[in-house]
Amino acid sequence: MSTIRTSPPRPWTGRIVLFLLVIITLAPFVALIGTALQPSGTVPTGLTIPSPPHFENFVTAFQVAQLPTLMFSSALLVVMVVPAAILLVVMAAYGIVQLRIPGAPFVFLLFLLGLTIPYESLITPLYYLMRDAHLVNTRFAIALPLIALYLPFGVFWMRAHFLGVPKELGEAASIDGAGSWKALRYIHLPVAAPAIASLAVLFSLWTWNQFIIALVMMDDPLKRTVAGALGAFQGEHSTDLVLICAAAVLMMLPTILVFIFLQKLFVSALLQGSVKG
């Protein structure tokens, strides 16, 4: 049976609140772009409309901020971190929930504890661990801790997903006598696709925008991440608010563009869900 889902009429109040939320969410971006287009070196006040808009600020900021180098560095980290983290997380959550390993509650609790540790409190020991492993000032010193630090959230999230999966899904596989690996590969993964997609997007963004770990593990600012560089840029051009805003816009642009480009895929996966009527 295939029912056609029709959207029931939504109350207007909800829509209005949603509209307001969208406006508030966009306000900082609008303010930033408005300021970035003012004449460089001036101190604009709140509501001045830039006339004429000074697009050359973006050119200046692009030249000064060494963006291509930094974006390559950020992208490299994403490639190092995200697939590995996803693989570890999906397997672990599958083992904890679907295969019901003995001691599952304890293992899950252990991961949950990790979720409660602020990064700042692990940084010093992590630095010494990485230094002893002779990894400091290599990208591995950023990637490995990040993979480990993402595990708690990932396991938490994938566990929530696996708990919500109809039991029949697992039962079917076990009745069939298929190995746990095949069941994961052919039955659970397709169902988990949206949850994994959400996770991959989050991990990628967190890595791309990672600041503190990159700052501590890497002496060379150009081998850190885009986010780390904006801080450095701010220090160097602190008197030029306009240029800082232009640089901030440029640094946000890549992720925003990629996200908008992928969101068709991504958001539609979310909105459709996996159990369609």
Partner: protein, 511 residues
């Protein structure tokens, strides 16, 4: 049977599952719908939310029903502490010796050397020019330069200096702590070889550390690339407007001028405290009061030195008073350092208390045609000049591989005519070096033509004070900064402020 056959993927969404003895998917859906509707009629939906069949948590997956997490946690904690009791204490057992290197030569090597540096981005352009000029004169020496902003550098410098492959030269002001840790090079041998001990010592003293960890005398652990000085810059046109014909000679005269500016409806002093810059006027005042030597001792971490003095309370009282009288910018705690600098540069305030590192900004806004400069005035007209003045301090980590070449470079910066020119024009500061060297000629339209002679005068009189912000590594961001915001908002008394600074100082030094 192959698994692919199980996944039909049609009638029940993407993954219909074939099950032996199963109802059809349709039947399941109908059952669910029926159950739902029944619940609605009973109005019991909230109490018994219906979930998709099979959604219930298997018994073994209710972690927190069957296990007592807090008990577990305590157990884990106990186990780890017990395990740790067997571990060695963290850190090194004792600092390495602080012996100065032996057999040091004042000659530059003829080998090819790459000197690595870690700079603070604000001061980096000038140092990069110096490096380029050095390579031009000595092609066998090249530089590998990394730079970071002040905030990142303060967070990272200590561990970078301590690491086994540290750069040869690092911008770092807190020499006392690192000298105690034994992580930076004792430069005495180089000082002897290059004759640094014959240079004016009032500025080098700030980079000396005694065996007891006190700054101000003892072995040399750092070298300045340029020596900065602070004072009062004024806007000539606005000063004329309030009847200032000559710079004030006493603190009272200065306060009278600030009052005149308020009366004239002008902003007297461009001062904002979001970036904790109230420490400038605070120390500017305290430097002029009796007890300035105690303040210097306190900055230098002399044993038993205290900030809890009458002069500190008086200075804090005056600072609070100045703000209440409207001498500073409105919303003082909302204005950051760049804003206060640009406010003055744009001609929106009569005075600013600032350092010569900003000469370039003021030169760009009109130079000496528009702005003037005078020392922060003493209490009496014949009082000696005291000003915040300190080197841009650089240290050589213990593990630096090219210490000799780096020391040669530092000496060259202070003595080579080309280099001294670069320091003056690009960093706006005094190049230091021996007294018999002439200062480079300065364009009279540049504010450096006013600040530089004053810098020399202050150091000659022994009136150069390091910043209270540099007393310990954390005193400024943790106490002086935040509490000065409370002070200016009248949420803290001067006495409380002074006591809190001393308490933090003792905490950090473990006293």
């Amino acid at each position: 049977m192959d698994l692919h056959h199980l996944v039909l993927g049609a009638s029940c969404g993407k993954t219909a599952i074939w099950r032996p003895n199963a109802r059809s998917c349709d039947a399941m859906a109908v059952t669910l719908a029926y159950r739902k509707s029944k619940h609605w009629h009973e109005g019991a939906t909230r109490q018994t939310p219906v979930t998709v069949k099979g959604d219930a948590m298997p018994e073994s997956n209710r972690p927190l029903d069957r296990y007592r997490p807090l008990g577990l946690l305590v157990a884990t904690g106990v186990v780890s502490v017990l395990a740790l009791a067997g571990c060695a204490a963290p850190g090194s057992s004792a600092p390495d010796s602080t012996e100065t290197p032996s057999d040091v030569s004042a000659e530059l090597t003829s080998d090819d050397v790459v000197v690595s540096m870690l700079l603070e981005s604000g001061g980096a352009p000038a140092v990069k020019s110096l490096a380029a000029e050095f390579t031009k004169q000595h092609p066998n020496v090249t530089f590998d330069i990394k730079e970071d902003n002040f905030q990142n550098l303060t967070a990272n410098a200590a561990k970078i200096i301590a690491s086994p492959d540290a750069p040869d030269l690092v911008r770092y002001p807190n020499v006392a702590e690192q000298a105690k840790n034994g992580t930076i090079t004792n430069l005495d041998a180089y000082a002897a070889a290059f004759g640094w001990d014959d240079w004016p010592q009032s500025l080098l003293g700030q980079m000396r550390v005694n065996d007891d960890g006190t700054r101000g005398a003892g072995s040399l652990y750092g070298m300045g690339i340029g020596f900065n000085v602070t004072g009062v810059y004024y806007n000539k046109k606005l000063a004329e407007q309030i009847g200032m014909t000559t710079p004030p000679e006493t603190l009272d005269d200065f306060v009278a001028l600030l009052d005149d500016a308020v009366a004239a409806g002008l902003t007297p002093m461009s001062m904002g405290n979001k970036g904790w810059n109230a420490s400038f006027p605070l120390q500017g005042i305290q430097n002029q009061l009796p007890g300035v030597d105690d303040l210097r001792d306190w900055i230098y971490q002399v044993p038993d030195a205290t900030y809890e003095t009458d002069s500190a309370v008086e200075a804090a009282t005056m600072l609070q008073d100045w703000n209440n009288k409207g001498y500073f910018l409105p919303d003082v705690n909302a204005i950051d350092y760049p804003t206060m600098v640009s406010t003055f540069a744009e001609g929106k305030a009569v005075f600013i208390l600032d350092g010569d590192w900003n000469n370039a900004a003021y030169d760009g806004a009109g130079g000496t045609d528009t702005f003037g400069f005078f020392p922060f005035p003493p209490v009496t007209a014949d009082g000696s000049l005291v000003a915040m003045a300190s080197p841009s301090t650089y240290v050589l980590p213990k593990s630096a591989k090219n210490a000799a070449t780096t020391a040669y470079f530092l000496n060259w910066v202070a003595t080579d005519p080309e280099a001294r020119e670069i320091v003056v024009t690009q960093a706006g500061s005094n190049p230091g070096g021996p007294t018999d060297l002439e200062l480079p000629t300065i364009d009279p339209s540049s504010l450096a033509s006013l600040t530089l002679p004053f810098g020399t005068e202050v150091s000659d009189q022994g009136g150069a004070m390091d910043f209270i912000a540099n007393a310990t590594a954390g005193i400024w961001p943790t106490t002086i900064g935040p509490n000065s915001q409370l002070l200016l908002a009248n949420k803290m008394t001067p006495d409380e402020f002074v006591a809190s600074v001393q308490k933090q100082y003792e905490t950090e030094l473990g006293r």
